[in-house]
C-alpha cells in the first residue's frame, strides 16, 4: 500500500461516522421518500407503485391546498417580523447602554425553553377568557381578540409565540454588530449621517451576510412550523392553523397514508429549495462580504 492510499484510508476512517450517518439517516431516507411518493403505502403492507397518483390527488385535495395557504400566511408574517424584531433589539443592544449583559440574558432566555413548555405556557397566556394577555389589553382599552378561538387571530397568535423565542437570532446579530469597525460609524458621522442613516448605510450592509444566513434559516423553519400549533391549537379553530407539517404528520402517522405524506414532503422540499435559491440569488447582489 502506498503512502497516498494509506492517507486516504486514514481520512476515510475519521470521516466514517459522517459517511455512514449521511447514507443511513439522510440519503437513504430522501431516496425512500421519493420512491414512497409514487406508491400507495400504509406501512402494514409493502409499498405498491401507483405512479403519479399521490401528486394528482394532492392537486385536488382541498385540505392540502388550504394547509399550503395558511402556511404561506404564517411564513409571510413570521419571516419579516422575526427578522425585524431580532434586528431591532440587536441594534438597540449594540448602543452605549447600561446592563447590556443583563438585557442580553433576558432576551435570550425564552429561546432556550423547550417547545412543549413554551406551547402550554402560551396557550395559557393567550387564553381568551382568563389569559393574561387579554387582561392587559383590556386594561389598556385595546380590543382583546379571542386569540385561539378565532380563525383570524390564531395565526398571528402563533407568530407572536414564535417571535418570543427569537433570542438566538438577537445574540447572533449582536455578535455581528460588534464586529463592525467603529471607524465606519465615525466617518458616516462626519458625512452627517444620523442614527437611521448609520443603520441604513453602515450597519445593514456590514452585517448583511449574517442577515442572509438568518433569513434562510427562518424561511426553512417557518415553512415547517409544527410543534407550537400542534400543542396550542391542534390546527384549529376551523383548520385556520392546520399548517403544512401538521397535515403531513397526520397523513403519515394518523391516517397511515405514508405515500401521500411522502409526496407532500417532496413538494415541501422543492418549495424550500426554490425559496433558498431565490434568496441566495437576491443575496448575491445585495450581500456585502468584507474582504472579498
Amino acid at each position: 500500500m502506498t503512502n497516498k492510499q494509506k492517507h486516504i484510508l486514514k481520512v476515510l476512517a475519521f470521516l466514517s461516522p459522517w459517511i455512514i450517518g449521511f447514507i443511513v439517516f439522510q440519503l437513504y431516507p430522501i431516496a425512500s421518500s421519493v420512491y414512497y411518493s409514487f406508491c400507495y403505502y400504509d406501512i402494514l403492507r409493502p409499498p405498491g407503485f401507483v405512479g403519479l397518483d399521490n401528486y394528482r390527488s394532492l392537486l385536488t385535495d382541498e385540505v392540502f391546498l388550504h394547509s399550503l395557504i395558511v402556511t404561506g400566511i404564517y411564513a409571510a408574517l413570521a419571516i419579516p417580523l422575526s427578522l425585524i424584531v431580532s434586528l431591532f433589539f440587536a441594534i438597540l443592544l449594540n448602543q452605549k447602554i447600561f446592563g447590556r449583559g443583563m438585557f442580553r440574558v433576558i432576551y435570550f432566555l425564552p429561546s432556550l425553553i423547550p417547545m412543549a413548555a413554551l406551547g402550554v405556557l402560551w396557550k395559557w397566556v393567550l387564553h381568551g377568557e382568563h389569559g393574561i394577555l387579554n387582561h392587559i389589553l383590556r386594561l389598556l382599552h385595546i380590543p382583546a381578540p379571542n386569540w385561539l378561538g378565532s380563525t383570524a387571530w390564531a395565526t398571528p397568535a402563533m407568530v407572536m409565540t414564535g417571535i418570543w423565542a427569537v433570542g438566538g437570532s438577537i445574540v447572533i446579530y449582536l455578535a455581528a454588530l460588534q464586529d463592525v469597525p467603529k471607524s465606519l460609524y465615525e466617518s458616516a458621522e462626519i458625512d452627517g449621517a444620523g442614527f437611521f442613516g448609520k443603520v441604513r448605510h453602515v450597519t445593514l450592509p456590514m452585517i448583511s451576510p449574517v442577515i442572509y444566513f438568518n433569513l434562510v434559516m427562518t424561511i426553512i423553519a417557518s415553512l415547517q412550523v409544527f410543534v407550537i400549533p400542534y400543542i396550542i391549537t391542534e390546527g384549529g379553530p376551523a383548520r385556520s392553523t392546520y399548517y403544512y407539517a401538521l397535515y403531513l404528520f397526520d397523513n403519515a402517522f394518523r391516517f397511515l397514508r405514508m405515500g401521500y405524506a411522502s409526496a407532500m414532503a417532496i413538494i415541501l422540499f422543492l418549495i424550500i429549495f426554490t425559496l433558498t435559491m431565490v434568496t441566495t440569488k437576491i443575496a448575491s447582489k445585495k450581500v456585502y462580504y468584507a474582504g472579498k
Binding site: 492517507h7 481520512v11 475519521f14 470521516l15 461516522p17 459522517w18 455512514i20 450517518g21 449521511f22 443511513v24 439517516f25 439522510q26 431516507p29 430522501i30 425512500s32 406501512i43 433589539f89 438597540l92 443592544l93 448602543q95 442580553r104 433576558i106 432576551y107 432566555l109 425564552p110 432556550l112 425553553i113 423547550p114 417547545m115 412543549a116 413548555a117 402550554v120 405556557l121 396557550k123 395559557w124 397566556v125 393574561i132 387582561h135 433570542g167 438566538g168 445574540v171 447572533i172 449582536l174 455578535a175 464586529d179 449574517v210 438568518n214 434562510v216 415553512l223 415547517q224 400543542i231 407539517a245 403531513l248 402517522f253 405514508m258 411522502s262 414532503a265 417532496i266 415541501l268 422540499f269
Partner: protein, 284 residues
C-alpha cells in the same frame, strides 16, 4: 461651536433615554410570560381563574409542584430524558470530533467541497426524512424505545461538525507537525493535542446537544408509543391533552419543572452559550 455641541449632547441624552426605555419595555415583554408561568404554578385553582387576575398569589402554594410531580410520572419522564440527553452528548462528542478533525487537520482532495455538502445537509427539512426513518426504525424494532432518539447522534451532526471545525482550524498546524515527526498517529494527535486545547468548544457542543435533546418534541412524538418511555417534553404535552385544559396551576408547575433544568444549566455555563451562538453566526 459650543451651542451646537450642547444640542448634540442633548440629542445623545434623548437618544439614550429612548434606547433604554425601548429595551426595558422589550425586556418586560420577554420576561413576563416566564414570570406568569411561575406565578400561576403557585396559585390555587380559584385564584388562577379569578377575574381580574392576581398579579401575585396571596400564599405561595409550593405543594402544587408536589402534586404536578405525582400527577405526571415525572421521575420516569426525567429518567428517560436524561438517558437520551447523556447518550446523545457522548455520541455527538465522539463522532463529531472525529469528523471535524478530518475537515480541519487533515489535507485531502475535495475537502472544502465535501464540507459544503455537510453544511448543505443542515437544510434538509425533517419532514422529508420522517416517514422513511420511522419505517426503518420500526423494521428493526426500535419504535417504542429510546434508541431512535440517541443512536443517530453517534454518526455526527452537521452543526456540531461545523462548530468543532471552526475551533480546530484556529489551533496552529505546527503542533500537529511536531507530533507527527515524533511518530504520533493522527488519532493520538486528536486525543493528546487537539482535544485538551478544545475544552471550551467541546463544552459548547455538549451543552447545545444536551439542550437540543432535552427540548426535542417531534422525534419523541413519532417514535415513543408507551407512556413509560415518554420524555419530559412529550409527557408534558400528553398531560395537557389529558387534563382537558382547566388545571392551569398544575400544568404551569409541570412546565416550570421541565424548563428549570435548562435555565439552571444556562446560568452555570452562560459564557459558553453566548460564545457558541456567536460562533454560529459570524462565519455563517
Amino acid at each position: 461651536m459650543p451651542a451646537n455641541k450642547k444640542s448634540m449632547k442633548k440629542g445623545n441624552l434623548l437618544q439614550s433615554i429612548v434606547v433604554h426605555a425601548l429595551l426595558i419595555i422589550g425586556a418586560i415583554a420577554f420576561m413576563f410570560p416566564l414570570y406568569w408561568m411561575v406565578v400561576t404554578a403557585l396559585k390555587t385553582l380559584p385564584e388562577v381563574l379569578q377575574s381580574p387576575p392576581l398579579w401575585f398569589p396571596k400564599k405561595l402554594l409550593w405543594s402544587n409542584f408536589k402534586t404536578a410531580i405525582n400527577i405526571i410520572p415525572f421521575w420516569t419522564y426525567t429518567m428517560n430524558t436524561v438517558i437520551v440527553c447523556v447518550l446523545s452528548v457522548i455520541g455527538t462528542l465522539i463522532s463529531s470530533t472525529l469528523v471535524a478533525y478530518a475537515f480541519s487537520r487533515l489535507q485531502w482532495k475535495g475537502r472544502e467541497f465535501t464540507f459544503k455538502c455537510v453544511l448543505a445537509t443542515m437544510m434538509i427539512p425533517f419532514p422529508v426524512l420522517m416517514v422513511p426513518l420511522f419505517v426503518l426504525f420500526s423494521k428493526i424494532g426500535w419504535v417504542g424505545s429510546l434508541k431512535p432518539l440517541w443512536a443517530p447522534t453517534f454518526f455526527a451532526s452537521a452543526f456540531n461538525i461545523f462548530l468543532l471545525r471552526q475551533f480546530f482550524m484556529t489551533i496552529p498546524m505546527e503542533l500537529s507537525e511536531a507530533a507527527r515527526i515524533d511518530g504520533c498517529s493522527e488519532f493520538g494527535i486528536l486525543v493528546r493535542i487537539i482535544l485538551p486545547l478544545s475544552k471550551p468548544v467541546l463544552l459548547v457542543v455538549a451543552l447545545f446537544q444536551f439542550i437540543y435533546s432535552w427540548n426535542d418534541f417531534l422525534a419523541p412524538l413519532i417514535y415513543l408509543t408507551r407512556q413509560e418511555t415518554f420524555t419530559l417534553s412529550l409527557g408534558l404535552q400528553f398531560y395537557q391533552s389529558q387534563q382537558g385544559g382547566s388545571q392551569w396551576n398544575y400544568l404551569m408547575a409541570a412546565a416550570t419543572l421541565v424548563v428549570l433544568p435548562v435555565l439552571v444549566l444556562y446560568f452555570i455555563a452562560q459564557r459558553y452559550f453566548i460564545e457558541g451562538i456567536s460562533l454560529t453566526g459570524v462565519k455563517g
